[in-house]
Amino acid sequence: MIEIRIHGRGGQGGVVASEILAKAFFKEGKYVQAFPHFGVERRGAPVAAFVRVGEPGSFFVRTNIYEPDHIIVLDPTLITAVNVLEGLKPGGWVVVNSPAEPHELGIPEQYRVATVDATSIAIQHKLGSKTTPIVNTAILGAFARAFGAPSLETLIAVIREEAPVKPDENAAAARDAYERTKLSAEVQV
């Protein structure tokens, strides 16, 4: 079973991202669980959502995720605002919405880092507004590229089914992000 934690700000689409990611893995034959942080949510405030992925028939716990295998960060300002790396297992992917190069984020060498400028991609595809772009579908493209699953085709199919508006634009954002993702070099575990 792998556990993924998604960090975002209220209104960025982190919870929907968790559901799309779970549904994409499910479509590829995995058993899944997706849930939001169980709390009150405000627009702009730090929020989290969670995904578990495993083989069908395996036992899934029903607890919060404390030691994720990988994390996804929808807003680069969260890296300094909250401890997004808390509990992250060594070797895990840190997929960040940022125009910076992976090594520029100051993330410890025991983690693998992927960056993509999901904000620009979302604005380019007119997802959300310029001040509050909806970056969730773009960042999932970057996760698929870094982690190697789900496949881009599956991800795009689920995005088309799940996007409440602009299915083509959301699918294109995921594809662009997948192609433009920058991956860190060797991982030092």
Binding site: A22, F26, Y31, V61, R62
Partner: protein, 391 residues
């Protein structure tokens, strides 16, 4: 798990699994008032009614008391009625819950377990539903989203045969807002299992009659006797229909569920979503050679006394883990389990642990610690063993 032909296997939130269950049951009247974390159950149903996907009347009301009053009226008029609520909403319905059971209206309601205020909480705890223990409603506790969907269908099937209302119960957020795979059955299979509700005594303008008028001491007690007999009958019907459920849907349900129980010396008793975490933990303990198993309580009312006795007789020790409390007494499942075992010659010592109140996470390590504590304890001395409380 083999799916039915033409089933849809999809990822659903627990609340939406309940809504889909109600739709498949072809509910005819939904009378509801929103409250977190239940709201998305009736929200999705209202969308289904608005779009024409579900042919039903959706009655918006000004309180939960009225929501239940609406269901009672609809049910007595012969309609299949549904509602959903949580915590304070359920408490506000309290008077009407007695009315529904006393008038023998087979309403099905989903209660999303939420801790009672004050202090305010939106997180899970079973004290809300268990506080309604004596209202005459059946209560079915669910561990997964699939169980929640299935329980809606099963609950109508049983409730309408014995004319007793049924509450299906699921944990706030841990189920209600968690998405996981759920099999959604073809409508025609549900229709074959659950025919339309027929009530020969339905209110009828051609032959007017009243329900719930004054019953003097000469007759009141007989009404109560009949309601108790209906609950006893409900236990039999629940077991029978739970088996028939498998013929139609591929899944069998009973009053209890056993996990690694056959040769278990030590048994953990759980109800609701905590069971999944306990199963994960017990599977690991088994790999280490620990002879521990789980007894999950699904049906709380009517209480399956005999099944509980048969499942626990001859064990070394039993730990009941309650996510609820009866103040001045103990965990509620704990006291019920003990009463079932009273004077049974093979009854094991039973220990009562309280954990996870107000949505506090119950993690695998908590289960391990409860198990280790159980093994080293002698006779139960204290009515409550607190797990994870800061004092």
């Amino acid at each position: 798990m083999k799916l039915l032909e033409n089933s849809t296997y999809t990822v659903l939130k627990g609340n939406h699994a309940v809504s889909v269950g109600a739709k498949l049951a072809r509910v005819e009247v939904i009378s509801a008032y929103p409250i977190t974390p239940q709201t998305t159950i009736v929200e999705l149903l209202s969308e289904m009614v608005a779009s024409g996907e579900l042919r039903a009347r959706f009655i918006t009301v000004e309180s939960e008391h009225s929501a239940m009053a609406g269901c009672i009226g609809a049910s007595l008029a012969g309609a299949r009625a549904f509602t959903a609520t949580s915590a304070q909403g359920l408490a506000l319905m309290h008077e009407m819950l007695h009315w529904a059971a006393g008038a023998r209206a087979p309403i099905v309601m989903a209660n999303v377990n939420r801790a009672m205020a004050p202090p305010w909480s939106i997180w899970t705890e079973q004290t809300d539903s268990l506080s309604q223990r004596d209202t005459g409603w059946m209560q079915i506790y669910n561990e997964s989203n699939q169980e929640a969907l299935d329980s809606v269908i099963l609950a109508y099937k049983v409730a309408e045969q014995v004319r007793v209302p049924a509450m299906i119960v699921l944990d706030a957020f841990i189920l209600s807002h968690t998405s996981e795979p759920v099999e959604v059955y073809p409508q025609e299979v549900v229709d074959a299992y659950l025919p339309p509700y027929e009530n020969p005594n339905a209110l009828n303008l051609e032959h007017p009659h009243a329900i719930g008028s004054l019953a003097d001491p000469n007759v009141y007690m007989e009404f109560r006797y009949k309601l108790q007999k209906a609950h006893e009958e409900a236990l039999r019907v629940f077991k029978e229909e739970g088996q028939r459920f498998k013929e139609y849907f591929g899944r069998a349900y009973d009053t209890l569920e056993a996990f690694y129980l056959d040769d278990a010396d030590y048994v953990l008793v759980t109800a609701g979503s905590m069971t999944s975490t306990a199963k994960y933990t017990v599977a690991q303990l088994r790999e280490k050679g620990e002879k521990v198993g789980i007894l999950k309580i699904r049906l709380f009312r009517p209480f399956p006394f005999e099944d509980v006795r048969n499942a626990l007789r001859g064990r070394k020790k039993v730990a009941v883990i309650d996510r609820n409390i009866s103040f001045g007494h103990s965990g509620i499942f704990y006291s019920e389990i003990k009463s079932a075992l009273y004077r049974d010659s093979g009854a094991p010592p039973v220990f009562g642990y309280i954990a996870g109140l107000g949505g506090r996470d119950v993690r695998p390590n908590d289960i391990v610690e409860i198990y280790e504590d159980l093994k080293q304890r002698e006779e139960p001395a204290e009515p409550i063993l607190w797990k994870g409380v800061r004092v």
